[in-house]
């Protein structure tokens, strides 16, 4: 069943990515994207942050966030191209490119976090 229809698995990953990114991303964007650069609060020190991401639990959370967010993006991006731009004939190319990018991104995240631990 799964072999015939990858869709259920992809949808599960998409949904998980939606929940995880929904939970974690707003506060991260607020801090790293807006508050630190504007100096509203002080950015963490290099050592402090490095120690934090070296923590196995934090690393795991970060990896999950990155991998699932990429897959969330890939799934939505693919469907939006179908629905929004009606380029269904490029169906397979789009799918391969989107999920491929997500997998590569997840690999990079794994590598970086591994090196940082």
């Amino acid at each position: 069943m799964l072999r015939r229809h990858p869709e259920p698995l992809l949808w599960m990953l998409f949904s998980a990515g939606g929940v995880v990114s929904g939970m974690l991303m707003p506060v991260l964007v607020l801090l790293f994207g807006v508050a630190y650069p504007l100096g509203v609060v002080d950015a963490p020190t290099y050592d402090g942050l490095r120690a934090l991401v070296a923590n196995p639990i934090a690393a795991l959370v970060l990896f999950t966030l990155c991998a699932l967010s990429f897959l969330h993006w890939a799934h939505r991006f693919r469907h939006t191209l179908y629905d929004g731009l009606q380029i269904k004939h490029l169906n397979e190319v789009i799918a391969v490119v989107s999920y491929g990018v997500a997998l590569v991104g997840s690999g990079v995240a794994a590598y970086l976090l591994w090196q940082l631990s």
């Binding site: 929904g22 290099y46 966030l65 939006t80």
Partner: protein, 140 residues
Amino acid sequence: MEQTHTYGDTPYHPRWLRRRVSTYWWLWKPAYLRFILREGSCMFVGWFTVYLLLLLAALLEGPLAYELFLAWSATPAVLIVNVVTLGFVVFHAITFFQAAPQAMVVRLGRARVAPQTVLLGHYAGWVVVSAVVAFFLLGA
């Protein structure tokens, strides 16, 4: 698939008027626009994931790279992108949580938990997770 039922009508009639949906259908009404913005939020989710990877890469490289990253993040272009990103990821979080009760039927014993309760549960989780993350990051 067995065909159980048959029809006496013609399935296709050449004179019927068939109208194609415009490529820009999502501009037709506010609800569709909201949909496409919701779907579009994934681009910002993707962007910020890349941004996180850049941060990790800087951390791996050393203190100087980290400082350069922080400086780059304060440049107007990046800052503007991230302010927009903040809007979209909040929009993403809200729309995603709103959809949850429609997909999930949560039960306590035999009784179905009210959809509003499921939604409130998600929002509560969001607040707690955000607080924990902020606690660690502001302490670091």
